[in-house]
Amino acid sequence: MSWRADIGLEVHVQLRTRSKMFCACPNAFGAEPNTQVCPVCLGYPGALPVINQEAIRLTVRTGLLIDAHINLRSKFDRKNYFYPDQAKNYQISQYDQPLCVGGHLDFSVNGESRRVGITRIHLEEDVAKNIHFDADSGVDFNRAGTPLMEIVTEPDLHAPEDTLAFLQALKQVLQYGGVSDCNLEQGNIRCDINCSVRRADAVNLGTKIEIKNMNTFRGVFRALQAEIPRQIRELERGRAIVQETRRWDDAAGRTESMRGKEDAHDYRYFPEPDLPPIVLSEETITAWRAELPDLPAARRARFVAAFSLPEYDAGVLVSDKEVADYFEETVAAGAPAKAASNWIMTELLARVSESGESIRDLKVAPAGLAALIQLVENRTINGPTAKEVLATMLVEGGDPGEIVSKRGLAQVSDAGALENFIEQVVASHAKSVADYRAGKQPAFEFLIGQVMRLSRGKANPQLVRELLKAKLG
C-alpha cells in the first residue's frame, strides 16, 4: 500500500524596511537588547500604532511577483493571546481581509517543473525575543513590532525535496524583489509546516499535524523526513492521527507533541480600532507593478541572450541575486562575460560556499575582479599567477595591478630570457628531449613544465610553447 504526503507552509518573512511596522524605531538586527524600542513597540499605555507604508508596498510587491490578487481594501485585526514576548498581549495582524490572496510560485525539482498555489499573504508585527538565563528570563523587545509578512501555501507539496526546492525558489523571489534580505541566521525567514499523510488513492486530505517555529531550511527538510514516516507508521499500525501541534527536536531528529487541538488558542480576532482600513488605488498597484524587477527565469534568459553565456552558467549565476548582480557589475567594469562567469563560478563561489559568507562580503569587488581579468586578457599575467593574485586579494584586498608589480609577478614574454630557460632545460633533460623526438607528446608537456618552473611560473606559456617547438625542430 503506498502513501502520499500533503505539505503546506506558513512562511514568515521579515521585510527589509528602515523602521518597524507601527513606529519609527529602526528595523535592524544585532543591537544591544532593548535599545531599539519606544512607547509604541513596548505597548506603553496611551501609545498608538501608525502603519509603515513601505511594508505595505513590499507585501503587495511580493503578491505581484507571485501573481496574487491584491485587495484594494484590506484591514488589520487584533489577534489576542497572552505571552511575555508580546508587548500588548495582542498582535496586530490581518485576519479575514489580507493584502494579497491567491497566486502561485513555479519552481523545478530534479529538472521537473512544479507549481505551488499561494493561499494568501498578510502583514503583521513580529514578537519580541525571550532570553532564558540560569535563574530567570529576559525579554528583548528590539524585534518586537518589526514588519513580518506571512505567506500561506496550499498543501501542494508532497515530499521533503519538493518543500526544500520551493523554499529556495521563494527565497530567490523575495531576494530578487528586494522584499527581504532572507538571512536565515538572523531569522529573516521562519516557517510553520502543515503536514498530513493519506493513502495514494484517497480523495480527501489526511489529518493535519502542525510543526511550529522552523528557522532553517535544513530543519524543514529533516523534520519532514522524520514526520512523514512517523505518520505512515502510525496509520499502518492502525492508529488514527490526532490533530495537534508538534515541535522539531533537531538534536534528537524527531518531532514531539507540543499541544493538542483542545489546547488550541481562541485568538478572538477583531478589527483593529486604532487603524483605519488600508485602501489602495488601481493607479498605485499599476505603478508598483511597473517597478517589478526581473525574476530569476527572466534574468537567466537575458544572460544567455545578451552575454552569450551557456544555459548552465546563466542558471548558476542567477540562482543567487547577489551573485547575478556581482556578475553584471564585473562585466560592466570591462570584463568579458564568459571570463567573468568562469572566475565567479569556479573561484569565488567555491570561496563563498567554504566560508558561508555572501559574495558581497568578499574583499574582491566586481571592479577588482574585472581588473584581474584584464591583466590575464592582455597577457600581463598568466592564469596560474592570476589565481595566486586572487588568493592574495581575497585575504588582503587591494588592487591586482599593484600586487603584480609589487611582487614582480608580471609574465615574462621576452624571447631572450625565455630561450635562456629553454636551453638550460634542454641541456639537463636529454632523455625527455629524445622521447619527444621519438614522438612522445607528454615529454613535450613535461619540458614546458620545467621551463615554467625555472621562470617561477611567470613565463608566457604560449610563447614558451612556440620557442621550444622551434628549438627542438
Binding site: 511575555p84 480600532p273 487603524l275
Partner: protein, 492 residues
C-alpha cells in the same frame, strides 16, 4: 476684584494677559483652595504644586517679554487617564501603581503649547469604567453640591474640580458619557467632540473606537476655547481627522432663529426623574423662545444602545487592557512562572468592574459567540448611526436630558451593575455614532442638585451644538450658581 478661582478659563486668560493678576498668583490661588477644600471633595489624586509654580513663573516671564498664547499662565486639571510626562498616570487603578508617564499626550502637549499649566491629576473610575467614580481604586470623590452624593463618572474628579472651583477647566474623556454625565451631575459644561477631532495619543485606551478627549468647563465659551486648543490632526493617531483648525469660541451667538432642534421621544422615558424631565422640557421651551423651531422626532434604535455599547466597548477593552501584565511597567505580583506572574498581577491589580468588563468582552469575542454578539453589535451600531443621520437631515441639533437622574448617593447603585449602566442611557448613543454632544446646566432639583441638558449634533457639528448651548446658557443663570462649600471657607 472677585475671587480669582471663580473666573472662567477665558476670563483667567484675559486677566493674566492684561496683567491684572500674575500666573503665579492665579496658580497659588488654586493651590491654596485645593489645600483647603479638596480634603472634603477628593477630586485630585496628585497636585503638582512645585511644577505648576515653576511653569507659572515661566509664563509670567514669557508675558513680560510680550509673548502671547491663548491660555498663557492658566492652570488646567488633567484626568488620570492622560499621560503627562513625568507624572504618575494610574487610570484610577492599582495595576498602574508606580507608573510614570514617559511622554505627554498630544492633548496635553497642545495645552502646553497654548500656554496652559497642567495643575494636577484628577480622580476617575478605574480605566474610565463607571458612572460614579466609585470604581476608583484610589479614593472617593464627592459631589460639591452634596457631599453624600457621587460626582458622576468616569471623569468625576474633573467635574467635581471644575464645579468646586479647584481649577478653571479640566480635561476628561468620554467613551459612553464619561464627560457629559459627570458634568450634568456636577452642574458644569462637558463637551464630547466628534470621534477623531482630538488625538487619542497618550490617552490610555478603554474602548478605542469610542474614546474621545474633551473639556469640562464653567461655561460653554470655555468649552469652545479648550476644544479649539486641543483638537486637530495628529500623525501619531491614525484615527484623528485631517481638518482645518476650529475657531468655535468666536462663532457663539445669543439667539437661535432659523435653527431646527429635534426632540427624540425615546429620550423621555418612564422611570426618569420627574424633576429632570420638567427642567429639560422647560429648557426646550426656552430654546423655542430664543427662536428655534422644535421638531418632534423618533430614534427607535435608542433601546438597543446600552446592550450594543457594552458589547463593543468591553470587546475592545478586553484587548486594550491585556497589556497590563506586570512585565514591563506598573505593579507586578511575582509568580512561579511568567504566566502565573501575569495572572497574579492582574488578579491583584484590577478592580471588580474592570474584571467584569474584561470577562464580558472576552466572552463576546469568543469563537462561537462572535457572530451573535460582536458582529451583531457592529450592525446595530451602524443602524444607530443611520438613525442619527436621518434625524440630522431635518434637524440642526437634538435636545435631550444628559442623565435620567440627578446625582445619586454613594453605594446606591454599586450593588446593581445594570442600574449603574443605565446612568449612561442618553449618552452612549453619541459615542456609538461617533458624533458630538455637550451637556450644560438647565436647572436644579428642589434638593439643590444640578440637572443637565444634552445638545447632540452630527459629526463635526460642534459649532451648531455650542451655538445652541451658548444661546441657552446666556439666557439663564444656572451656570453662575456655585455650590455652598462652607468647609474651611472663610467669609469671602
Amino acid at each position: 476684584m472677585s475671587e480669582p478661582t471663580t473666573w472662567t478659563l477665558a476670563e483667567s486668560a484675559r486677566r493674566v494677559r492684561e496683567g491684572a493678576i500674575s500666573s503665579l498668583e492665579l496658580t497659588d490661588a488654586y493651590l491654596d483652595r485645593i489645600d483647603r477644600l479638596d480634603r472634603a471633595i477628593g477630586a485630585y489624586l496628585t497636585v503638582d504644586a512645585d511644577g505648576a509654580r515653576a511653569q507659572a513663573r515661566a509664563a509670567d516671564e514669557r508675558r513680560s517679554r510680550g509673548e502671547r498664547a491663548p491660555l498663557l499662565g492658566v492652570p488646567v486639571g488633567i484626568k488620570d487617564v492622560l499621560n503627562v510626562s513625568g507624572w504618575p498616570c494610574t487610570c484610577g487603578s492599582r495595576i498602574l501603581e508606580g507608573y510614570r508617564a514617559p511622554f505627554d499626550a498630544t492633548a496635553v502637549e497642545r495645552l502646553r503649547a497654548a500656554g496652559a499649566i497642567p495643575l494636577g491629576i484628577l480622580n476617575m473610575d478605574e480605566f474610565a469604567m463607571g458612572s460614579s467614580t466609585e470604581n476608583s481604586s484610589r479614593q472617593l470623590t464627592r459631589n460639591p453640591w452634596d457631599l453624600e452624593r457621587v460626582p458622576g463618572g468616569s471623569s468625576g474628579g474633573s467635574a467635581a474640580a471644575v464645579a468646586a472651583d479647584l481649577c478653571p477647566a479640566a480635561l476628561g474623556t468620554d467613551t459612553g458619557g464619561s464627560i457629559r454625565q459627570p458634568a450634568a451631575l456636577c452642574g458644569c459644561v462637558g463637551l464630547k467632540p466628534t470621534y477623531g477631532r482630538v488625538s487619542r495619543y497618550g490617552l490610555v485606551a478603554y474602548a478605542s473606537s469610542l474614546d474621545q478627549i474633551g473639556p469640562l468647563t464653567k461655561d460653554v465659551r470655555d468649552a469652545a476655547l479648550l476644544h479649539d486648543v486641543i483638537s486637530g490632526r495628529d500623525p501619531r493617531d491614525s484615527t484623528s481627522l485631517d481638518l482645518p483648525p476650529t475657531s468655535l469660541a468666536s462663532g457663539l451667538g445669543r439667539e437661535l432663529t432659523g435653527m431646527r432642534l429635534g426632540l427624540p421621544a425615546e429620550y423621555f422615558i418612564d422611570g426618569m426623574d420627574p424633576e429632570v424631565e420638567t427642567a429639560v422640557r422647560a429648557a426646550v421651551e426656552q430654546c423655542k423662545a430664543l427662536g428655534a423651531e422644535i421638531v418632534p422626532i423618533s430614534l427607535p434604535q435608542t433601546r438597543y444602545a446600552i446592550a450594543t455599547y457594552y458589547i463593543v466597548a468591553t470587546a475592545e477593552a478586553s484587548a486594550n487592557l491585556a497589556r497590563f501584565d506586570g512585565v514591563r511597567y506598573g505593579r507586578r505580583v511575582p509568580g512561579e512562572d511568567p504566566i502565573d506572574m501575569v495572572e497574579r498581577t492582574r488578579a491583584a491589580g484590577f478592580g471588580p468592574e474592570v474584571k467584569r468588563r474584561i470577562i464580558l468582552g472576552t466572552y463576546v469575542l469568543s469563537s462561537g459567540y462572535y457572530d451573535a454578539y460582536y458582529l451583531r453589535a457592529l450592525k446595530v451600531r451602524r443602524w444607530i448611526r443611520a438613525g442619527f443621520d436621518e434625524a440630522f437631515r431635518s434637524c440642526d441639533a437634538l435636545l435631550t436630558p444628559t442623565s435620567p437622574s440627578p446625582a445619586f448617593r454613594f453605594g446606591e447603585r454599586t450593588g446593581d451593575p445594570l442600574q449603574m449602566y443605565l446612568s449612561d442611557i442618553f449618552t452612549v448613543t453619541v459615542n456609538l455614532a461617533g458624533i458630538c454632544g455637550v451637556s450644560l446646566p438647565c436647572g436644579f432639583t428642589k434638593a439643590g442638585l444640578p440637572i443637565g441638558l444634552q445638545v447632540i449634533g452630527p459629526a463635526l457639528g460642534e459649532a451648531a451644538i455650542l451655538r445652541v448651548a451658548h444661546a441657552y446658557e446666556q439666557s439663564t443663570e444656572w451656570h453662575t450658581r456655585r455650590p455652598n462649600l462652607a468647609v474651611g471657607e472663610g467669609a469671602a
